[in-house]
């Protein structure tokens, strides 16, 4: 006799039976995202402390291109929509729809990263380097870490497209798409915070 109740078909089981009744992969992903809050919280706090510390080089208000960054933010926000449509298609076992929306999401993410590279280059040309000031160091560290997260997300999305095309996913495909979707949405919500605190609220 088991002394632990086994729950089946709870909200996130996706065909697994576990002692919690939930998918272990999904619990692990949510725990990981909770820990990521601490990472980005530290980086955002550091930026908030140091954004006014400019002895030499341009100040925040002089290097930010708000219209350009607004478009980038909109692109990343819309990639969350395409990602959730990919998850929806995966739940309906629509492989064509899933790969289509995953590819669109990756392209939107790549557009965002391309915009960030352009923005960094423009800032560097205006005299703001990584070691120019505490503002520059904290800004490039925060937005750079976010950019790396988006890039990792794009790699995961494209890998997933390849794996789906080869039909190589063991177990529940919808759960795998959903897990990568959770990571992608998290990257989006972090940018929602960065866009407001870093770009829109002046130092």
């Amino acid at each position: 006799m088991s002394d632990v109740a086994v729950h089946e078909a709870d909200h996130g089981t996706h065909g697994h039976i576990t002692s919690t009744g939930l998918s272990n992969n999904k619990v692990a992903m949510w725990l990981f995202l909770g820990s990521e809050c601490l990472l980005f919280g530290g980086l955002i706090s550091t930026y908030m402390l140091y954004r006014g510390r400019v002895s030499i080089g341009p100040r925040p208000g002089h290097v930010f291109d708000i219209p350009f960054t607004s478009v980038s933010s909109f692109v990343l926000l819309m990639s969350s929509l395409t990602m959730v449509l990919a998850v929806s298609a995966a739940q309906k076992r629509d492989d064509r729809g899933t790969t289509l929306w995953l590819t669109v999401t990756a392209l939107l993410g790549a557009t965002f990263v391309g915009g960030q590279v352009y923005e960094f280059t423009a800032m560097y040309n205006e005299g703001l380097g990584f070691t120019t000031s505490l503002f520059g160091s904290s800004f490039f560290t925060l937005t750079g870490f976010h950019g790396v997260h988006v890039t990792v997300g794009i790699i995961m999305l494209m890998s997933l497209v390849g794996i789906i095309k080869r039909s190589d996913i063991p177990g529940d495909k919808a759960e795998v798409v959903e897990l990568i979707g959770l990571y992608w949405h998290f990257v989006d919500v972090i940018w929602i915070i960065i866009f407001t605190l870093v770009y829109l609220i002046p130092a």
Partner: protein
Amino acid sequence: MTVATETHSEHDHSHDDHAEHGMSNAGYIRVAIILAAMTALEVSTYYVDFGAFFLPVLLTLMCLKFFIVVSYFMHLKFDNKLFSFCFYAGLFLAVMVYCIALATFKFFAA
């Protein structure tokens, strides 16, 4: 016997189970339109003088957008509460730790 097994069954019915907990595609598009409108309002604060409401409006919009994405796109609103606990515990810890850290540097007094 302590149960620590994880079995992989056929995923015939799992998709249908999960689809019930999300939204329709039209619902997701409606949420995205709301988020886009809120972003437009945020950006408008750069061009229009909101006076004393500038900071409260921006922070409110930021929080609303955050919770809309987490609740609807990440399905926390429809999923098991344990997932919400895992995420919000980390978020709460982060906010508290860094608010205390910023307070020690007299960030809020400036």
